[in-house]
């Protein structure tokens, strides 16, 4: 019996959307307020969905302690209260939430082995969300 399990995590970070090879006017035209040179921040919510059969002995798809442990170490500690634009991960790339979503998917996909990864969904604000399923 395959079940999908979704857990939500929260972190706060700043970013600036800016292309170094474009003029200031072009950057403002593309990114608007998000191009503010001083950056700006969001409270991001990350929803990670994993799936698998429910273990008969534990009743679980995967132990939440494992998922929480991995997420705290690999996601929260890495991104919380950081400036995404300064991270080596986004060197030469604009840290849009689309890209953040793909990067976070890849982190789970490479490192989390306790259940099958289905999806990563990120809410940048209550109005904007992004999903990546690989």
């Amino acid at each position: 019996m395959k079940v999908h399990l979704t857990r939500r995590y929260h972190f706060a970070a700043s970013h600036r959307l800016h292309l170094t090879d474009c003029s200031d006017d072009e950057n403002r035209a593309i990114y608007g307020k998000c191009n503010n040179p001083h950056g700006h921040g969001h409270n991001y919510s990350v929803e990670v969905t994993v799936s698998g059969p429910v273990d008969a002995a534990t009743g679980m798809v995967c132990n939440l302690a494992d998922l929480d442990g991995f997420s705290n170490k690999e996601i929260i500690e890495r991104f919380d209260h950081t400036n995404l634009s300064m991270m080596p991960l986004f060197e030469g790339k604009v840290p849009t939430t689309e890209r953040l979503c793909v990067e976070i998917y890849d982190i789970y996909n490479k490192g989390f082995k306790h259940a099958h990864l289905e999806k990563v969904r990120i809410e940048e604000t209550a109005k904007n969300s992004f999903e990546y399923t690989g």
Binding site: M1, K2, V3, H4, L5, T6, R7, R8, Y9, T49, V54, A57, T58, G59, M60, V61, N63, L64, A65
Partner: protein
């Protein structure tokens, strides 16, 4: 094909314990949830059905009927109950969010006549939910 989702809430208590495990194993696997005095949650049940829109009524399903089935089969059985002790399915299965979704599906599916059950989602809290789509 259209999908329709209806929500209901129930509050219940539970604990996680596998009698085949040693006390240490229960503690290690289930952590705080192993406390045999139990603890509780405000669960949210989301039932999604799918089907064709009826030409005459404009409905995919009679909402009143869906609400009655959800109340009778799941909410009345689990609201303000101790899941381990008062819901027969959890005499053996551990009442995790995953298993609650499966049990809710099995209780609801036989009563779905016009529309078909598509998904049962159970929220244990705003940051955790399980989805069951039946045997795919």
């Amino acid at each position: 094909m259209i999908y329709l989702t209806r929500k209901a809430e129930f509050a219940a208590s539970h604990y996680y314990h596998n009698p085949a495990f040693t006390p240490e194993e229960n503690q290690r696997v289930f952590g705080k949830c192993a406390n045999m005095n139990g603890h509780g949650h405000n669960y949210v049940l989301e039932v999604t059905v799918k089907g064709e829109v009826n030409d005459r009524t404009g409905f995919v399903v009679d909402l009143k009927e869906l609400k009655d089935i959800m109340n009778r089969e799941v909410v009345d059985a689990m609201d303000h109950r101790h899941l381990n002790k008062e819901v027969p399915e959890f005499a053996k299965a551990i009442p995790t969010t995953e298993n609650i979704a499966i049990v809710a599906w099995k209780r609801l599916a036989p009563h779905m006549k016009v529309a078909k059950l598509h998904r049962v989602r159970v929220y244990e809290n705003a940051d955790l939910f399980a989805d069951y789509y039946g045997e795919e």
